[in-house]
Amino acid sequence: MAFRLKLVPDNTSYNFFRWQWLTFGISALAMVASVVIVLVMGLNFGIDFKGGTTIRTESPTAFEVGDYRQALNNLDLGDVSITEVFDPSFGETKHVAMVRIGSTDKTGSVTPEQLNEIKAALKTVDPEVAFPAVESVGPKVSGELVMTAFYAVGAATLGIMLYIWLRFEWQFALGAVVSILHDVLLTVGIFSLFQLKFDLTTIAALLTTLGYSVNDTVVVFDRLRENLIKFKTMPLIDVMNLTVNETLSRTIMTAVTTALALGAMMIFGGDVIRGFVFAMLWGVFVGCYSTIYVAKNIVLWLGVKRDWTKPGPKEKSDVEDIPAAFRDAP
């Protein structure tokens, strides 16, 4: 027999509801913790959302962040932060730093004169320094971008919810939305916890994650619907367990291929894109978890229509031996 790599054996029958209170509790706790972390530590907003200027410096010789700071201290720029950037591809002859200057006045970013002063000041400490990227965003735009980001996440959630509602049932839609919320909160939470730069591309990553996570959930729902038709008398909880076990191999398989691809990008894709890829990679893990432990638990608690052959819950005989909690409301 040919060799097959199987991370999940055939015909599993794990009971995914055995620890349902624990797993769901962990999810709920993680969500609350994320909110608390964001409230306490705040997000490290990039200039897209906060306004200001970033300057990327690149030098063939090693530098001290302190020297750079010293050089800029005399310029009266307000809030300046300097971070050194590391990447395996840089080697010995490439030293990169990001200099970020907060918005100084109402018009936003630093003026061209200030920019020249900054460049000149850095050149005095490090004559070989070059400036491969300079970006500035005024507060007017950044305010709008914050709103756009909110709208984007909201619109995507709403759109997905509507679609699932149309294709399945409202319970499924609600389950998917709670798992979206879970994924979004946990992603925002980890960005706050590690103070990673949160900018427009992070929102794009968040939306992609959201699509991926729902994609995952929908595949499970699709099978659940099929099994609900097939096993009309089986208790809902058992149908769900069966469904998750049947789709487990696929869930893991896809998570692994996606993680492999993103992992390669994370390691070799360069520092410019790393935050973006990290957000997606994290989203894949969270999304995978929420598919198995969040979305369908919601559906289980809400109960679901059992007869998919005819519109409306009419045939009493099919729902007889289902616990009352899982029956449709009359």
Binding site: D222, A261, G269
Partner: protein, 554 residues
């Protein structure tokens, strides 16, 4: 599901062949780019230089020559988001209306009494009239000057909103006219910006209107956003005005109809000039950088016939008087008229270097912006950083593909190899569609392609897992494969539609790199459904018909 008619097989293979053909130019990126540039240059200039002929011959004409555009973050260049101060135009309109309104009111002096313009916020024209009880008549006169708005949405409405407050008559643009004016102002600004950028001849600039009053400008290959800003951020409104007096008092009161403007070169020197110009930059037909008699950089200009006539008449009537050359509310110089200038040409000199005079000439040729423009967002990416990103993106795409292929083959053997071929063709199809559409590839877009490599196999995984189950249930090979494809279909469609919704939201709400990412993601979704459903199935059907397997280990 497994009998695929011949025409369908040919269609599937045809689409893939077309995709390969359209994606191919990207392998020879610089050669095809030079070829395309040469063709564009020949079209523009009407003749062909030997270098252009050589560049054009570098790529055969009969092959597709569409390329994936590289975004600024990959190619390097400058990005600016400008906001047009559309309200500037309201003020100019009101100032222009004043003489007309004054004449109309003065003609009815015995009814409305004496008229006097009074201070009012910008964009409003306030007039004090002598007989407040005859205000109704004044309002009627002012309304008589209004014309209908010329726009689709505002058709039938008047362009002026006239109201009265005590003895004051207040005139301003109506909302419909404001909307129409805003639109025109932004259109004009867009056109002027385009002309200015074309004048300096950079390649493939993106100049787009964004929202109500914004203009997005992306110029690949330019050194910095500062350079670009100097070129397009200057209003470049040139006027020639009569000089009333020269003073060093910054707070001097210029009097009604006059303005106090600073000198550009001499600090602390101010000129009081008449606000309405004799001639303006709009009357210019040409402007060239040159040198004056002292060898200093200057700009030679030439008026059109009507401008030349007015300028000639004014100079012959005012010999011995100074007049001011004003650029964007600064007096460049105020020479004294020595003789009538009837030739219609002249020279602007002041303290400028060769770069300044060259730029001023470009600005004067392209025309003035109708309103001031400020910049809300500026980004400069160096070409080296872009190249680094391309290299890193390329390396990580290859590694990601190899990893996914290896994992798929380890998991599904021969079927895994089929899925891998489908994934690689999928990436090629993404590039082909982007080349045909002329879509822009950004760094997040590359990440989108890499992500697609990971998720595109998902559809195959769903199908294969299903086939495995059917096989385990004891079905025969062909039946199991057939059922596997059939049963997996609804899951694949549902799953992709949800991703599609997220991608659409990003496309409509995002900008720049995010939009590029959404485009790549959307194209990737469509092509991956195609390759997973049609191409893999076709390959499996070929295999089934060739080997007629009795059993299958998946």
């Amino acid at each position: 599901m497994l009998d695929i008619p011949l025409w369908k097989r040919l269609l599937i293979l045809g689409i893939i062949a077309l995709g390969l053909l359209c994606a191919m130019p990207n392998l020879f990126y610089s050669r095809v780019e030079q070829h395309n540039d040469a063709i564009a240059a020949v079209e523009r200039n009407g003749f062909e230089t030997p270098e252009e002929a050589e560049a054009r011959a570098g790529w055969p004409d009969w092959l597709p020559s569409g390329l994936v555009n590289l975004g600024l973050d990959l190619r390097g260049g400058a990005h600016l988001l400008g906001e047009v101060h559309v309200q500037d135009v309201y003020k100019a309109r009101m100032d222009a209306l004043w003489p007309e309104l004054r004449d109309a009111l003065v003609a009815q002096r015995e009814v409305v009494g004496a008229v006097r313009r009074v201070q009012a916020p910008d964009g409003q024209l306030a007039v004090e009239i002598g007989n407040p009880d005859q205000m109704a008549k004044a309002v009627e006169i002012a309304r008589g000057l209004a014309t209908p708005v010329t726009s689709l949405s505002g058709a039938g409405q008047s362009d002026l909103a006239v109201s009265a407050n005590g003895s004051r008559l207040i005139v301003q643009l109506s909302d419909a006219e404001k909307a129409a004016t805003d639109d025109r102002t932004v259109q004009q600004s867009l056109e002027i910006v385009r002309r200015r950028i074309d004048e300096v001849g950079t390649r493939e600039p993106t100049i787009q209107r964004q929202g109500k009053d914004r203009i997005l400008i992306q110029v690949p290959g330019i050194g910095s956003a500062e350079e670009l800003k100097e070129l397009i951020g200057t209003t470049a409104r040139l006027t020639f005005n009569p000089v009333i007096s020269r003073t060093s008092d910054a707070n001097a009161r210029p009097g009604m109809g006059n303005v106090l403007l600073p000198s550009m070169d001499e600090p602390g020197v101010y000129y009081v000039i008449e606000e309405s110009p004799v001639v303006t930059g709009e009357d210019l037909t040409d402007a060239r950088p040159s040198f004056d008699q002292n060898g200093q950089p200057s700009v030679d200009f030439r008026f059109g016939p009507s401008g030349a006539k007015r300028f000639g008449a004014y100079t012959s009537a005012n010999i011995g008087q100074p007049f001011a050359i004003v650029l964007d509310d600064q007096v460049i110089s105020a020479p004294v008229i020595r003789q009538a200038i009837t030739t219609g040409s002249g020279q602007i000199s002041g303290s400028m270097n060769v770069e300044d005079s060259t730029r001023l000439a470009v600005l004067l040729r392209a025309g003035a912006l109708p309103a001031e423009m400020t910049f809300l967002e500026e980004r400069t990416i160096g070409p080296e950083l872009g190249q680094d990103s391309i290299d890193a993106g390329r390396l990580s795409s290859v590694i990601a593909t190899v990893a996914v292929v290896a994992y798929m083959i380890a998991s599904y053997g021969f079927f895994g190899a089929i899925a891998s071929i489908a994934v690689i063709i999928n990436v090629i199809l993404i590039l082909a569609v982007m080349s045909m559409m002329g879509a822009t590839l950004t760094l997040p877009g590359i990440a989108g392609i890499v992500l697609t490599v990971g998720t595109a196999v998902d559809a195959n995984v769903i199908i294969y897992e299903r086939i495995r189950e059917e096989l385990r249930a004891g079905k025969r090979v062909v039946k199991a494969i057939d059922d596997g494809f059939n049963e997996a279909m609804s899951a694949i469609i549902d799953a992709n539609v949800t991703s599609f919704i997220a991608a659409m939201v990003m496309f409509f709400l995002g900008s720049g790199p995010v939009k590029g990412f959404a485009v790549t993601l959307t194209i990737g979704l469509v092509t991956s459904v195609f390759t997973a459903i049609y191409l893999t199935r076709l390959m499996i059907v070929f295999w089934l018909q060739w080997r007629k397997p009795k059993e299958l280990i998946l």
